[in-house]
Symmetry: C2
Subunit: 185 residues, 2 copies
Amino acid sequence: MTERRSSDQTRAAILRAARQRFAAQGYERTTIRAVAADAAIDPSMVMRYFGSKEQLFDAALAVDLRLPDLGAVPAAEVPAALVRHFVERWEGDPADDALLVLLRSAVTHEQAADRMREVFAAQVAPALAAALGPERAARTAGLVSAQLLGLALTRYLLRLPAVTALSPDDLVAGLAPALAATLAG
Amino acid sequence: MTERRSSDQTRAAILRAARQRFAAQGYERTTIRAVAADAAIDPSMVMRYFGSKEQLFDAALAVDLRLPDLGAVPAAEVPAALVRHFVERWEGDPADDALLVLLRSAVTHEQAADRMREVFAAQVAPALAAALGPERAARTAGLVSAQLLGLALTRYLLRLPAVTALSPDDLVAGLAPALAATLAG
DNA sequence: TCCTGATGTCAACAGCCGTTGGCCAACAAT
DNA sequence: ATTGTTGGCCAACGGCTGTTGACATCAGGA
């Protein structure tokens, strides 16, 4: 174990800068040169650490939704808990751009869309299955995701005034009954 | 009035090719050269007809949602009518990519996001106001849009299997009660 | 006949991009 | 003292992009 201190630091700096750029501008508009400038190093270092722009992108796409264990909450409160967790996740730590990277890029980049589907299959679907039982989850998981991602899309990417104007509490109050309705369907 | 036949035709051909490219690949990945090749003309003609890539893009963003008059349907049937019209609009004529262009590009291109907000303000908001009355529309238009655009996002852009697996009827059955719930909220 | 305007082609420019390879300084081990 | 490794910079290549301007073609009016 030699001193890898500096190496790890710049690697992290590159990844942080890349996440910010990818989140703000999407894949095609962010350049290696800009990421390198943000991280205060030479563009060629980005290549040395990550191999290529695609691989850097891939590293930036790692996302953990940190979904709560929905099996623990009473069935009646699942919708509100879902919306609240989701909003807090987006509204919260602005340095945590991983989610934004994923959603913004997935719309134009097939590789990111693949990741999105993986995240969905590996994290969202099981969480819902734990809360609702397998059959109901299979029937409603798609529409539940559509509603939650629709919120993210209109509020954080498109920034529709009618959506950004709402407070987090408004969002919970307005969407929780909607989720409850599709779950009951 | 001289014979402008050829001019109008190539102009339309360029616009058609541009819409397809923008819809499939987004703004940054579509090149003037590719659009010109699709339209079977020289790249410089695109510039002559539209001035610049940005202006061509702007022309491609013209969208008419053709929302039905919701004032005519009974209040109880508004949610289902909304979802059905929306799904038919997307599912229908595949040559009509204008909506896809707008949504796909709005996520990474600020100019397109502006257009999206304009379309919302000029078409969606008034239609809802006619159906629900001004105060309720103001309160719920944002969340209704979020749910409808969430469907478009997950079904046509991200193509989440759990959403593409559903039939149009499933979508109406699953989302109409949800919309009704937020409208009642 | 000559001219003019529209329609279209061709070739090139300038800029930015991802990527590469060579060179340098510091430092640890031999 | 020499060697090898690590972390870093610099300059360049080749490719693709939007964009431009010079030229070709051809119809129709003076």
